[in-house]
Symmetry: C2
Subunit: 327 residues, 2 copies
């Protein structure tokens, strides 16, 4: 078993902004060991009064859209404005692809080197529920450590976006010009979740196409109903090379914060997210306890093949498994 | 408690094709009473050897696309070909909207009156997992009752499509011409699931626009990778008024069946679906047992508001709830 700090040491280190302790604490959160998880829960609870002050921004887009360069450029601009920025990632596939996003920290070299920034690659977890729970805990630890803006990166492939949407205040979708959204593999459902579309790489020869894409997307967004938050998604051109749009994006985020806090939805959404998290956690723990049960395992081994072949009704086996588990 | 038949009476009635008994059996399947559910599971198990012979077709599309008229016209054509047709529905929202699909049987009057057809509206269930489990059981009962083709209708709004996709052999998406898919609210993810796009209402003044839409969709589909099944989605024009396309759709379905059975994917997909079903069922039962626990209920009542307000870490409460539940 790895060496662990005490609860007090973790909490004090985090509160003092010690990045080494923060990293160790996030490692604790990501641990699969039960003793670690119990300590991690206590730690999050201990720092809870010091969380919630940041702006949480989810950033998605398909591979190739330039998420890392965007986050680096946007993050550096935030540092220049005096903000402290943490970057986290959610990628349920990372245990297979060995860290497809944020895995290579050198992609954000400048940001990684700055003391006011903190970059953490995706945790490896067995399920999306597991991964997103860990990312939420890491996010709270970063807030307790004094980070003002949390950027949460996700891959643009579906499920993980919903998970990220459920943990952030603002959801930003990066797009490319010149390609239909079909080409970009963006699911319409993700476009509907976005508070902002950013047409990225709007520079050089791309600029004209980006401008055209912008008006196309603006038209498309008009078709969506204005959402409950009373915020209509914005479309912005941006370039991580020229810096175009980065300031505008941030000022729109602040605009959003003001409006949505005023309407009361900011806190309402966060409350909903906490309850979602509770539900995710319970489901995760229930599933884990169930699969750890030796009798369940044995019956599954024996009978699952019969379900697979169509010989045994899944409902019958599910009830038998439950009887074993509950008694 | 309502009067129930015996297991043998249900099974015999279903096997003889008695539609009244079939309906009673499906009511049993849909019951929330535990005694009913146990009997329902046994019943499904008892008829299991007589299931699996039908072709299961999922049909989706947004409201207004003409799902009911299509199913009526397509169903009648199948009857003319000597097939027995059952129509089921999955609509997780139906308990709120009071049966938005198939609720009004008169919409499929002709089909409903025919003895070789069977129409069953959406069950009301508390969760999508619950609803889809019931629909799967109803589907097996229909197969045991001798129906050759099962049409499963769903509303075009997202989650329920995935549930239906996971229980059918062939997934058909109804579209309208003249409207971009943005306008139709169709999520790209659903288009990717489809084995066939049907441009519906391709008649009268609409025909030309429908033809144009067909080639647009064919182009769009080329962008998707050919799926594992070695089947590229087809685009077909259809009219429930003129009958255009109905025969072609059926012959493509048979073509699909032949190809996918030959490649072994037909059975492979069904095996996967059975394991998915097992997992859904276990999750459903676990969640239900959890929420029925009196101590869990009490702690939730007391502590959930603290989670909601951000005072208590969801992970801490989840672990405390699990301790109560497991001990």
């Amino acid at each position: 078993m790895k060496k662990r700090l005490s609860l007090e040491e973790y909490a004090a280190g985090i509160r003092s902004g010690n990045r080494v302790v923060l990293s160790q604490a996030i490692t604790l959160v990501e641990s699969a060991l039960e003793a670690d998880q119990a300590l991690a829960s206590q730690l999050v609870q201990a720092v809870l009064p010091h969380t919630g002050q940041s702006i949480r921004i989810g950033i998605t887009g398909v591979p190739g859209v330039g998420k890392s360069t965007f986050i680096e450029a946007f993050g550096k601009m935030l540092l220049d404005l005096g903000k402290k920025v943490a970057v986290l990632a959610v990628d349920p596939s990372s245990q297979l692809t060995k860290g497809s996003i944020l895995g290579d920290k050198t992609r954000m070299e400048d940001l990684a080197l700055d003391k006011r920034a903190y970059i953490r690659p995706s945790p490896s977890g067995t399920t999306l529920g597991g991964v997103s729970g860990k990312t939420r805990e890491a996010m709270l630890l970063c807030e307790a450590a004094g980070f003002d803006v949390i950027l949460i990166e996700t891959v643009g492939v579906g499920q993980s976006e919903t998970a990220v949407k459920n943990m952030v205040d603002f959801f930003l979708l990066l797009m490319l010009s010149g390609a239909g959204d079909e080409l970009q593999g963006i699911k319409k459902g993700i476009m509907e979740m976005a508070d902002m579309l950013v047409i990225h790489k709007a520079d050089g020869d791309n600029l004209e196409a980006a401008q055209k894409a912008k008006s196309n997307y603006q038209n498309a967004l008009h078709l969506f109903q204005e959402n409950l938050k009373n915020w209509s998604p914005k479309v912005v051109l941006a370039s991580s090379v020229s810096g175009l749009g980065l300031n505008q994006i941030w000022s729109l985020v602040l605009d959003y914060e003001e409006k949505v806090k005023f309407s009361g939805f900011w806190e309402a959404i966060r409350s909903e997210q906490r309850l979602d998290w509770l539900e995710d956690q319970v489901q995760e723990l229930l599933g884990r306890a169930f699969l750890k049960n030796a009798q369940v395992q044995q019956l599954l081994r024996e009978e699952k093949p019969k379900v697979k072949s169509g010989e045994l009704h899944p409902g019958v086996l599910a009830h038998r498994l439950m009887d074993l588990f509950l008694n």
